[in-house]
């Protein structure tokens, strides 16, 4: 009887997660708790870091069958939306519905600040190659410099799915640290006189232009870079919902319920991809370091181009708005406002910085499109061709 009880006890213990717990799982649970702590207590991007942290917690509880790679598990189904580029474009739909392109349309030259800030993407790409990553992995890491979470996830899931967890965590962590990372670089690269520059009020834009811009830009950009269609197409559709004036319900849904629901799925899936096997590696540490480099270089690139625009315009552009070209809407624009106001309380840069900020979203999507054209295109085309052949000759395949 004793031996039977002992056997039963051992069997019950063997069925618990404790029996399958590894040191790696323990470390990952600790990391998950740190992410949750940062979200709740420090309020670092809580809408994202909290579900990412909880997804990581669930994925690393042994025998829970909740990691993104556990076939048939709940979070594996959610992860399907990341793997098959469903969730990041839906986030972009919501971002488009939330974004007012007015400041960008009022001063279109600020689009170039959004382009200049992408220098962070490419310096990080070079850095990642020097640290031993291949070009596809380096591209996925480099896009962290675009400071755009959905774009980072979108590109990582296509070019380096095994690095998705560390890339997403680095992107969102540094996005939340924008108010700490950017100001020292902005102050270092600008003079007090430049920071005091007051910009002229933005001119109003007609509703026709606001409606036509998402349509025309979608046609032009996607014809030039077809790989960017899922992200940019959804961004512009969301913006068209906002501006056209006849889809109030779709606009409201996109900017509230839809983006919230998709954020839950996306962040949980990303968290669930952070298992000990994929996350606890030297690569993760390298990605965290490269992510910081990406943000710093992107900020510097934007500010330096802002200085060029300041010179060219005869001192009418405050270089501080250049740092908002890193995307991270609207936090980066707020940082420009804050640093400008430190120098002169009456200097209101927020609306001026929203132009480059929105340009940064378009710029990082274009940067991702360039990477997809270079590295993702042929495979996708080849796969489509194979699928087409398979459909045409079903018996042979």
């Amino acid at each position: 009887m004793e031996s039977t009880l002992g056997e039963t006890f051992n069997k019950v213990v063997g069925m618990t997660g404790f029996s399958a717990m590894t040191p790696g799982d323990g470390i990952m649970l600790l990391i998950a708790c740190i992410l949750i702590y940062l979200a709740i207590v420090k309020k670092f991007e809580p809408l994202l870091l909290l579900p990412i942290g909880f997804g990581c917690l669930l994925a690393n509880l042994p025998l829970s069958h909740m990691s993104a790679s556990d076939e048939g598990g709940l979070l594996n189904f959610f992860y399907f939306g990341v793997k098959h580029e469903i969730l990041p474009p839906l986030i972009f739909l919501g971002v488009g519905a939330l974004t007012d392109f007015g400041p960008l349309l009022a001063r279109p030259s600020t689009l170039l600040l959004g382009a200049a800030a992408q220098i962070g993407v490419y310096t990080t790409l070079i850095g990642a190659v020097l640290l031993g990553f291949d070009l596809k992995e380096a591209s996925a890491i480099g896009i962290i410099g675009g400071a755009d979470g959905p774009t980072s996830i979108f590109l990582a899931s296509k070019l380096a799915p095994h690095l998705l967890g560390p890339i997403a965590v680095a992107a969102y962590s540094y996005m939340s640290l924008v108010p700490l990372i950017q100001p020292p670089i902005m102050r270092w690269l600008t003079t007090s006189q430049e920071r005091k520059i007051k910009m002229r009020q933005l001119k109003p834009i007609s509703q026709n232009v606001k409606i036509l811009f998402p349509i025309v830009s979608t046609i032009i950009i996607i014809l030039l870079l077809p790989g960017v269609a899922p992200l940019l197409g959804m961004l512009m559709l969301g913006n068209l919902f906002r501006e056209c004036g006849v889809t109030a319900r779709l606009h409201e849904t996109s900017e509230t319920h839809l983006i919230n629901i998709v954020t839950i799925f996306l962040a949980l899936s990303v968290g669930a991809s952070m298992t000990a096997k994929t996350f606890l590696s030297l690569e993760t540490i390298k990605i965290i370091i490269l992510g910081l480099l990406a943000f710093c270089m992107a900020t510097a690139g934007g500010v330096l181009f802002g200085k060029i625009m300041c010179k060219v315009s005869g001192g009418r552009v405050n270089p501080l708005i250049g740092s908002a070209g890193v995307s991270a809407v609207p936090m980066a624009a707020r940082v420009s406002q804050k640093v400008g106001a430190e120098e002169d309380h009456d200097n209101f840069l927020l609306m001026h910085a929203m132009g480059p900020n929105v340009a940064g979203v378009i710029g990082s999507a274009v940067a991702a499109g360039v990477f997809l054209s270079l590295f993702g295109g042929p495979d996708a085309v080849a796969q489509a061709a194979l699928d087409a052949v398979a459909l045409a000759n079903p018996l042979e395949h």
Binding site: L104, L105, P108, S109, L111, L112, G114, A115, Q118, I119, V121, Y122, T123, L125, I126, V129, L130, D134, L135, A138, S139, K203, P204, I205, S206, N208, V209, L212, F213, V216, S217, I220, I221, L224, L225, A359, I362, G363, V366, A367, V370, F371, L374
Partner: protein, 84 residues
């Protein structure tokens, strides 16, 4: 080393493509804005409270208020006058 050279080339090309596309967008926006300029909506009717405001009354209220507060009229500024 080949990867490093490739990464430099990719960076150069990609930055050029980004600048090219966004410059094209700048041109498109300028054309759109030139074609459909903003037309200011007709001026809203003056608020009833402002309609009957007489400059002489404002000056009198200003002077009386300055007297009441023990300040010179230059030290205070009236922002709004509402009828009770």
């Amino acid at each position: 080393m080949s990867n490093f050279a490739d990464s430099l080339a990719i960076s150069g090309i990609a930055m050029s493509v980004i600048f090219l596309i966004l410059t094209l967008l700048v041109a498109v926006i300028k054309i759109l804005v030139a074609k459909w300029p903003h037309v200011a909506p007709p001026a809203a009717a003056t608020k009833p409270s402002q309609q009957g405001t007489n400059p002489e009354h404002v000056a009198a209220i200003h002077a009386a208020l300055a007297q009441y507060l023990g300040k010179t009229p230059e030290e205070i500024r009236l922002q709004n006058i509402k009828p009770l």
